[in-house]
């Protein structure tokens, strides 16, 4: 129990909060990694997932990507890219985006795939163009699945961003590795608590988002 008290004391210490190596800076870096990497993954994954879901072409890519993502060791991808690009923010961003992509892709695709065929047929029968079908029927109905995909992607990135400090990229993991090197267990514990708190905060945000999307989805289906 003593360690927990020390860890919270470490977080509570104002000296650890501000400055270039303070909690706020590292938290900001951690959040920036998460937003940029998930954003990049969304930019590629959503259009690609919609294209596959709409046309039904390249379904094998989804199966392959999600399977590979599960088996791919994140630390391996991170260290490999870091060796190629050198220490800095580039390697972590590239690695995190690669890791986030399969979840986003699968979410976008699954949303379209889950729509019952009669719904699509009905939309076509009403004379909707492919573009109208996608924008007015498929995207709104697929939203809950897409949010689910973005949720797992963000979760994965928030968690993996802790490892980024291993290749010199900063983030909350910085405190963890600093503590590991100096045998300062309370500091490692404090960093872990902060990372866990951030992950849980992310979960809550997405739970709220999913609830809002679910309600809209419900309203749409009953129209």
């Amino acid at each position: 129990m003593n360690y927990f008290v020390e860890a919270f004391a470490w977080i509570a210490d104002p000296a650890h909060r501000t400055g270039p190596d303070g909690i706020w800076t590292r938290l900001g870096q951690h959040l920036a990694y998460t937003l940029i990497a998930t954003g990049a993954a969304a930019l590629i994954g959503i259009p690609l997932g919609y294209w596959i879901g709409h046309t039904g072409r390249g379904k094998g890519l989804i199966v392959g990507a999600t399977g590979a993502a599960r088996a791919l060791p994140t630390l391996g991808v991170l260290t490999l890219i870091a060796l190629f690009t050198g220490v800095g923010v580039g390697a972590p961003l590239a690695a995190l985006s690669v890791l986030a992509l399969p979840s986003v892709l699968a979410g976008a695709y699954a949303g379209l795939e889950a729509i019952p065929a009669p719904t699509i047929d009905a939309a076509r029968a009403q004379g909707m163009s492919e573009w109208q079908l996608l924008s007015r029927v498929e995207i709104p109905l697929g939203l809950p699945h897409l949010i689910g995909g973005l949720r797992s992607a963000t979760l994965q990135v928030v968690a993996t961003a802790t490892l980024v400090a291993y290749v010199g990229g900063g983030g909350l993991g910085r405190f963890l590795f600093l503590g590991l090197k100096t045998q300062d267990y309370p500091q490692m514990l404090a960093a872990s608590f902060l990372a866990v708190a951030l992950a849980i905060a992310g979960e809550i945000c997405f739970a709220v988002l999913a609830r809002i999307a679910g309600r809209r989805h419900h309203a749409l289906s009953n129209r």
Partner: protein, 212 residues
């Protein structure tokens, strides 16, 4: 390839350490999840708590969890016990839901017939429900196995040996071949463990053969 040939003993050692962390975690998460999943399936009130609670575990980042566990378990940061416990927790997080879903997917008529034939709840579980849920359980544990094998590598940054050590060592010494060996080795090990599970399923579930 040269690196692999020259350092084969290192890789072999890492492979075994990796298996010794992954296999107990996979086995434990199966053994613990089946009863928990059954409770979630049998008692409606517990489903929310168990399924939501276990998915919350999955939201915990792995490296911080590996750091927090020693404080709870009283182990050292470099103890492999932390890794087994953490991986088992992640395995349970995935597997409780799979178990509850697999049991819920059984045709209710079949279960009702068993009840009508006078099967006690325990006999019904072992003679009807679990065998019929078998393929679903197998699918669940295969997902757990693949993600567990990949997750083990994270513990290398704390100094716990596994194939992940090839990443940390390769990164520090700038050997790209070592990191690639680690990635390929982890993926191959995941495939191997998956194949073994499929084989076990083929032996234990003869009634499901040819269907999946």
């Amino acid at each position: 390839m040269n690196w692999l040939v020259n350092n084969w003993p290192t890789v072999w050692q890492a492979l075994w350490s990796h298996l010794l962390l992954a296999v107990p975690a996979i086995a434990l998460s199966f053994v613990l999840s089946v009863p928990l999943g059954w409770v979630a399936y049998r008692y409606r009130w517990s489903r929310f708590v168990l399924v939501t609670g276990s998915s919350l575990i999955y939201a915990l980042p792995s490296l911080p969890l590996l750091v927090v566990l020693p404080a709870i378990l009283g182990t050292s940061v470099r103890s492999s016990l932390n890794v087994v416990v953490a991986l088992t927790a992640y395995g349970i997080a995935l597997m409780v839901r799979s178990t509850a879903d697999a049991l819920a997917a059984i045709n209710t008529d079949t279960v009702t017939s068993a009840t009508a034939l006078g099967y006690s709840p325990i006999k019904k579980l072992f003679a009807v429900e679990l065998p019929l849920a078998g393929p679903g359980l197998l699918a669940g544990i295969r997902v757990v196995a693949v993600s567990t094998v990949a997750l083990v590598t994270v513990s290398a940054v704390l100094g716990i040996p596994s194939l992940g050590t090839l990443f940390t060592d390769g990164f520090q010494r700038g050997i790209i071949a070592e990191i690639i060996t680690g990635i390929v080795g982890t993926a191959l090990l995941a495939v191997l463990v998956d194949r073994v599970l499929v084989a076990i399923g083929w032996l234990l579930l003869p009634w499901a053969r040819g269907r999946s």
